[in-house]
Symmetry: C2
Subunit: 242 residues, 2 copies
């Protein structure tokens, strides 16, 4: 019997961990969200921080999320999904298809980093309020040029796939991630997205299709889904929208 | 017979393409750096831009570098290296080793993006001079906190590997990339790196070991190696160093 997957990620935000959670939830996989479980049972935040401690963990990650599967410890979001993809039935069998999916996932990871930098353009060690002026400039550039460019790109991928999903007829983890990007963008930039969305019906359709899948719909209603908030990557600061 | 690999990348900078070039050079692989070849032969920049044109290329990439191997077109630097690794003898055979290597490569990709953002913290569509004040702040933070954190991390990985290289006794593409990161950082931040380097002898040793490998030494002396310059990712702006 396969032991439960263990996810190690910050317990109060969706963040990068959410891309892993969505894949595990869609597949109905047995997993534990370790940092959200009680410290007294050897779980909680101390267990997450141990994954990052290179003095005691030979292949420690630079940052969360980290996934444990038995003896294997895997870091970096796209790498975890690369590992889980076939095992959860969320990636194609052929190498060429898996590479294309990984390429799309990496492009979403770049996009996500740009979202993060809209509110933290100068330093991860300072509060948003300390870099607000720079954040206003970076966000204006993001809304005007970067956001449409990414929306254009993924629309083109969907159209070229000739199917409902990024790779065609079958759902992959990339579709779950694209749903998450769109949900996050609607949360963080409601005005900009309301203005842009009508030009991108294929993306809205993908978002709605994923949200309506039974396991995802049930997950989104559950307490396992952390709400968007201003500690995460997608933050709603009205002054950065528009 | 295997046809030559085709690399599509900006012809005047090292940039992200350099991580691919180093792997191909170390392996002595047959490859063509397409955008640096004559347009009249169907090469040059138009050939590179065609890889990004989703109207005519079904699996167009969002951005270069792109690698073509026969019918296969692969984008995203870490994804290209994932594909080439086993084929060039620069990655371990076991899945666990390949995942760990990909994880390290992804961590270097994050580091590289932070280097880029030291001189372009606000917008990729504006010149450096238009965002210089913000660049001064972001660079100060990078030198003080981010740079040492990444240097610490990769030192720990080297020590834990108990070998000369990141994964132990055998060279992988990750070592070539770490060499490139260190060479670029010494170019862009000579003062900061001169101050920090003595605390990181294992990294300096890795850099020198890679630079002395026959194929790499020969490449670095050749005209195929584009010099660092202020159009690339590693840029030397003295005011951002210190």
């Amino acid at each position: 019997m396969h032991m439960a997957y263990e996810l190690y990620y910050w317990p109060t935000i969706q963040g990068r961990g959410e891309f892993i959670r969505l894949a595990l939830e869609e597949a109905g996989a047995d997993y534990r969200d370790i940092a959200r479980l009680p410290e007294r049972k050897g779980q909680g935040m101390p267990a997450m921080l141990a994954c990052l401690d290179g003095d005691n963990t030979p292949q420690a990650a630079y940052a969360p999320p980290v996934l444990r599967d038995g003896d294997l410890l895997i870091g970096q979001t796209t790498n975890i999904l690369l590992y889980l993809g076939r095992r959860l039935g969320l990636a194609p069998r052929a190498e060429s298809g898996r590479l294309w999916l990984n390429q799309l996932q990496l492009t979403m990871a770049d996009w996500l980093t740009e979202v993060h930098d809209t509110h933290h353009p100068l330093s991860m060690n300072q509060y948003y309020d300390e870099q607000k002026q720079a954040a206003l400039q970076r966000s204006a550039d993001f809304r005007a040029t970067r956001l449409p460019k990414f929306l254009d790109y993924f629309t083109q991928v969907l159209l070229n796939s000739r199917g409902q999903y990024l790779l065609g007829a079958r759902l992959t983890y990339g579709d779950l991630s694209l749903f998450q990007m769109l949900a996050g963008l609607h949360y963080a930039f409601p005005q900009a997205m309301a203005r842009l969305a009508p030009a991108y019906p294929a993306l809205q359709e993908l978002h709605d299709t994923v949200a309506a899948r039974p396991n995802i719909a049930s997950y989104l209603q559950s307490t396992r889904r952390i709400a968007f908030n201003e500690e995460g990557i997608f933050r709603h600061y009205p002054e950065l929208d528009g």
